[in-house]
Structure formats: structure tokens, C-alpha cells
Symmetry: none
Subunit: 212 residues, 4 copies
Amino acid sequence: MGYKKSEISTAHIVQAAIRVLARQGYARTSLMDIAREAGMSKGAVHYHYPTKESLIFVVLKTACDAVQQRTIDAWSTGGNPFESLHASLEELWRVRAERTDEALVVADLLAQSLYEEKLRPQLADYYRLAAAQIHDYLSTHLYAIGIKPKIRVELLPRLVIGLLDGLVMQAFADPEALQPGDVVYAIETMAQSMFELGSPAIQSASEPPSPS
Amino acid sequence: MGYKKSEISTAHIVQAAIRVLARQGYARTSLMDIAREAGMSKGAVHYHYPTKESLIFVVLKTACDAVQQRTIDAWSTGGNPFESLHASLEELWRVRAERTDEALVVADLLAQSLYEEKLRPQLADYYRLAAAQIHDYLSTHLYAIGIKPKIRVELLPRLVIGLLDGLVMQAFADPEALQPGDVVYAIETMAQSMFELGSPAIQSASEPPSPS
Amino acid sequence: MGYKKSEISTAHIVQAAIRVLARQGYARTSLMDIAREAGMSKGAVHYHYPTKESLIFVVLKTACDAVQQRTIDAWSTGGNPFESLHASLEELWRVRAERTDEALVVADLLAQSLYEEKLRPQLADYYRLAAAQIHDYLSTHLYAIGIKPKIRVELLPRLVIGLLDGLVMQAFADPEALQPGDVVYAIETMAQSMFELGSPAIQSASEPPSPS
Amino acid sequence: MGYKKSEISTAHIVQAAIRVLARQGYARTSLMDIAREAGMSKGAVHYHYPTKESLIFVVLKTACDAVQQRTIDAWSTGGNPFESLHASLEELWRVRAERTDEALVVADLLAQSLYEEKLRPQLADYYRLAAAQIHDYLSTHLYAIGIKPKIRVELLPRLVIGLLDGLVMQAFADPEALQPGDVVYAIETMAQSMFELGSPAIQSASEPPSPS
DNA sequence: TATGAATGAGCCTTCATTCAT
DNA sequence: AATGAATGAAGGCTCATTCAT
């Protein structure tokens, strides 16, 4: 073995870093904090990741992958297309709204990327993959049953993601303004209304949570 | 006059801070940077704002107000309701996509607020005001001409803002994925489709930029 | 005043640095050591010299100037040319052999310059000035009384300096091998024998210290 | 065989250390650099040399021996005494001026010895041996043909070495000031003029490179 | 023998803050 | 109202050394 240990430590540090970053944010997190959370010395962290930047890089990739995975899982449910869409959107929202460590890290580093160019390619990949995922889903499920989009189909997933990401920031700054049920219903409505209705039988799986 | 040089300097510092923060981001900006940009000594900045936090606070308020002002102005155009909506959304997008100093600062500090609770009330206010603004507009203009929303009307402005904010981050990480025309058209379509069409004559002011 | 204080501190730090460097050498001296010697905090040192490098630079210049000054003074004595030469060489040797702080710093940084290119121009200046000084002296005093050099006159001062510097290192590693009187006598003999004797009356001011 | 891999590795490390030290200097060389150059792990280096100091010690000895060897070889040429002297001095200069790894290491550690007493005895030995070598040569070759020195004969080799060492540092800081031909010619002239001319037939093997 | 992992002290530097003037 | 000087805590990083394997 020998190197196994290294891999374990390496992953261990990344997980610790994600926890600390989720708790304190990039700007307020020092390598010492991460080392302490990982239960090692600062030197040990530097042994595995020569610079803070290199660690953050791996952290970002790992966090993106984790969020990605939940996104992928979210769409895998079968059944009634509308129920499926609803369930998937709900899960997508939950990933963000639950503020999992990974989602927080992605959000935080996304903001850092405004001023740290090197982070951007990774995030661009992340967005692209998520968009492709949603794109596939919508094409297969909605389009297939005779509905065609009113807008460029490539754009649709971007809108869904953008909406989710934008709303979650709002929800954080002003939690009372957005109820989970509201959000999912709204996105769903939006998603559906972006398609031309081929058949009259479009029916939402959910009811408006609080019809005004 | 009640105010003297003090107030001038005070505002001067805030403007300098906004410029520097927009350029470098919160995490990478020191008080020295701000002092230098303001053309004063570090001591002078501390004279006016005893702590960095107190300065950031005023900066956030000022930046929010500035973005707010452009948002308000955006909706004030009259004329054809659909053209007006289009123009307004375009302006709203522009404020963000042009990356004005103030919009950048708001975005950056929004991320900081994830870990600095004190910033949140200010941002909540910001969101509320913007939402109220849009809400008023939509109520007055669309609702009035016999269109009624499919979802809770309070939610609508939140969606618009969330979408704009979420998309602008995406656009930054992955610029090629989102063309300005696309975005505005998509939001517009979304906004309109969130209303029950009372009359058959709904007509977008814009054409789909690249109908797929 | 105000800035006066700064100048005082600035010089104070340099003097402290010279003392510490002379005592511990460049490789073993930290900014903390210098700050402690100067009776200030590390931060204060950094306030006056933003980097260690910038401080070392000033230190080198100051130390060179100090050694230079003693070299200049060494030659200013008048009187019998041979006595004068002897006295001057003696002083030159003394500056080095006494291991004044400044001479030590110059020697130490000279060695550092092997691997730190930036130090070299300053040292080149130092050598040039010293050479010019000796060159002037020899031209005026020896040449004038009818003696002409056997080798390129520009080279002569270089030899004198090289010999002094090289011997002092030897003297340090192996102190017993070189007695002060020996050294000066030898250099003097060498210096004189580098000239063609115009008159037969060349007579050393000193006697061989220990004729073997 | 009494020795095994151990001794090979031991020598291997020393050679690697000399290469790295020559390239980077003592102050800038870490054990990691040496281990990397030797193609082994840091741990392995520590296995053979428990401390950095112990390694440096052997390095110094090895480097001194290498320079010494070239010095010895330099004097072994026979033939005309003056040509021989010239050739020898030329070689001595070349060893230093070519900046062989070993000569660089000796020069660098010589400077370190200013502050690390333990290095001095080794260097004292080095100087003594070199001096003895030159002393033998001069005694045998020059003295034998009826020339007797003007100064203590023990001092003579010290002067030659000092001059060479001192000049090489100057040449490094200010390369244009000293041309190889100049230097050798000058030292030769000096060496000769340190002897009383017993016979009139003293004739240099070389011509002044640029007679002024 | 040799390695990779880990440690801990120390280094240079940054920075918000304080304070005398 | 404003400045320059100084502080001290912290940050990222390097490195000789130790140690289990």
C-alpha cells in the first residue's frame, strides 16, 4: 500500500475543506482551519496540496461533481412526465435550498470566480454538464410527447439553472419571501409555458400552493 | 450648511471603495487599496469609518441604491405595454450584464453575505424593493389590460430577479453560452407565459433571436 | 517634522540590520532578528522596507559606502610616498581584517551575489569606485616620481583589492597563517614590484617583518 | 567486498549535492532539492546523512579535494620553469574562473564559514594543502635556479591563492573589469617580482596582453 | 535501505487597527 | 480632519527532521 494512505488523506483533506468552506466561506478560511478540521498539521495539508490554490481547485471540482451527481440522480425518475418533471425540479431546488456543503462551496467559489479567472473553466464545465443533463431530459420527455419549445432549446436548461441559482441567493438573503412549494411550482409553470402546447391535456402534477 | 467637508470625504471614500471592490472583489481588497484610490491616507479612511465593516456597510447600501435607481428608471418608460416590458427587461439585464461597478459590488457582497449575517438585512431590503417595483409594474400594466397571473403575483418579480441574477453568473463563468438577445427574449417569454392570456392578441415586442 | 522620524527609523533599521547580518550572516538572519535588534515590531520594519530584498539592498549600499569611506580616508595621508603607501595599505587591510560590521556584510553579500544577480550591480559599483580610488593614488604618487607600471595600470588596483579580499577570507579560515605585518609588507612589495624602477632608490618604508 | 550499495549511494548523494549547491547556493538549497537531484527520497538522504550539516560537511571535503586535485595536477607539468609557472597559474585561474561546480561550492561554503565555525577547520586544511603545494613548487623550481624570495617564502603561496580567490569574486561581480589573459599575466609578474633576480635572464613566458 | 507521510517551528508578508501629532 | 508610524495577529508557505512501514 503506502500510497493508499496518501489517497485517503488527500480525499480526507478535501472533505474537510468542503466542510470548512461551507461554514466560513473562502475569504474567511485559512489553511489552518482546514488542517484543524482534517485533524492534521498545516504542513501535512501542504504536503498533499502544495498551494492553497491547488487545494481549492480540487475542492471546487469535487463539490461540482457532487452537486452534479445529485442533479443527475434527480432526473432519473421515470413515470408520468409531469410528475417526473415536478419531482426532478423539486430535487434540484432541494439540492440548493438545503444548502448542502457542496452547493454552498460551489456558490461561494462562483462568486470568487468573478475575480479569480482560474476558477472559471471548472465552473463553465459544471454549467455545461448540468445544462446538457436538463437538455437531454426535456428533449426526451417533453418534446417527445409532442410539445415543442418556444425558445431555443439550448437556452432552456440555462434558464432553469439560472433561475434556481438566482432564487437560492434571494432565499438566503430574504428567507421568508420564497416558500419551497412556491418556487418549484413557479419553475414548473415556467418550464411548461416555454413549450407550445401540442395537446390540450397539459396538466400540472402540482397545484398552485397558495393561489392568490 | 449643516454638512461640511466631512460629508464630501465620506461619500468620496465610498465611491472609491466601490471602484476598487468592483475591480478586485471584497476578499482581495484592503483598506489601503481603498485609501489609495480615494487619494487619502489609511488613517483618514479610518477617521470616517472606524472599521472596515462599517465602510462595507455603507458601500453595500450605496451600491444597492444605485442599482435600484437604474431598476426604477428601467420601468418608467411608457408606450405599448409589450414594448415597454421588453425595454424594461433589456435595461434590467444590461445593468447586470454590463457589469457596472455597483452591480458587481452587490453581487460580490451578496456572496459575502452567505457568511456575514450583518449584510443580509440590507440585501433583503434591496430584493424587496426591487420586487415591489416589478410587482407594481406588472400589476399596473399587464393585469390592467385583462391578463391575470397563473402564479402568486408576489412571486413573479422574485422570479424575474432571480433569473436575471442567476443568468448573469452563468454568463460570467461561461460567456459563450448566453447571448444578450436570447436572454431578454427568454425572460420576456417566460414573464408573459406566466399570465393567463385574456385576449388572443398577445404579441411579443421582439422576435426570437434565433428560432430553432 | 513627521517625516524626519521616518528617516531616523529608516536609518535605524539599516544600522540594526548591518549589526545582525555581520553577526549571523544573510542566510541565518530573519526579519524578526532585525526587528528585534532595532527594537521594533516586524510590521514596522515592513512599513519602512516593503520586502526583505529592498532592505538588503539599502543595507548593501550603506555597507559599501562605509567601507568605501574608510578606503578613501586611507589614501588621504600625505608625506613620503612610500610611507604613505604603507600606511594606506595598512589601513585597507585593517578595514577588512578588523572585521568591521560593514566589511563583513559586504563580504557576506558578495557571496550571496553568486546566486542573486540583483546584488551584483551594486557590488560592481563598489569595486569600480575602490579601483578608481587606488588608481588615482598610484598614478599620482608613484607614477609621478618617475616609476611606470609593468602591467596595465587599470589592472593594478584590481590586484590590490583582490589580494586584500582573498587574503582576508584565508585569514578567517586559518587565522594563524597570516600575520597582519606579513600581509601588508607582502602587498606593498608586490605593489612596488609591479612598477619599473626608474631610480635605484626605491626603498620600502617597512622592513620584512620576519625575514626567513 | 566490504562496501555495498550504501557507499555508492553516499557518494551519489554528495555528487548530487555539489551540483545543486553550485547551481543554487547553500542558502537556497533544501534537502529536497538534493534528494530530487540524486533521484531519491528525502528520507533516503537522511538515512545516509542524519542531518543537513553532516552532509554539507562531506560535500565541503569532497569539493575541496576536487579543487585540490586540479591544483596538484596544475603544477605537475615539467619543462621550462617560466612556461611551467605560466601554465600552472593559468590552470589555477581556470579552475576558479570556469566556475566548476566544486570551486563554486568551496567559494559558497567559505562564505558560510564566516558564521558556521565548524566549516572552518576543513577550509583551513584546504588552504594549507594548497599553500604547501605551491610552496613546494616554487621552492623546487624557482629557488633552485638561483632565485631567492624577497618575502617570507611561506607567505608566497598564500598570496597567490588569495589573489586568485579575491580576483575571481571581483570578476564575478564586474566581469568586464578583468580579462583572463590580464589576470594570469599580472599574477605571474607579481610572482616573479617577489623574487630577487639572481640571474639577468628572467624572461616571462607570456607577453603583456595589452601593453599600455 | 529506502520511502512517503507527517510534524512543527520559523519565514516573509499582509492588514485592520491604534495613536501621537 | 488628516497623517504617518507602529503594532500584532494571522496567512500562506518552506523545510529539516522524525517515523512507521
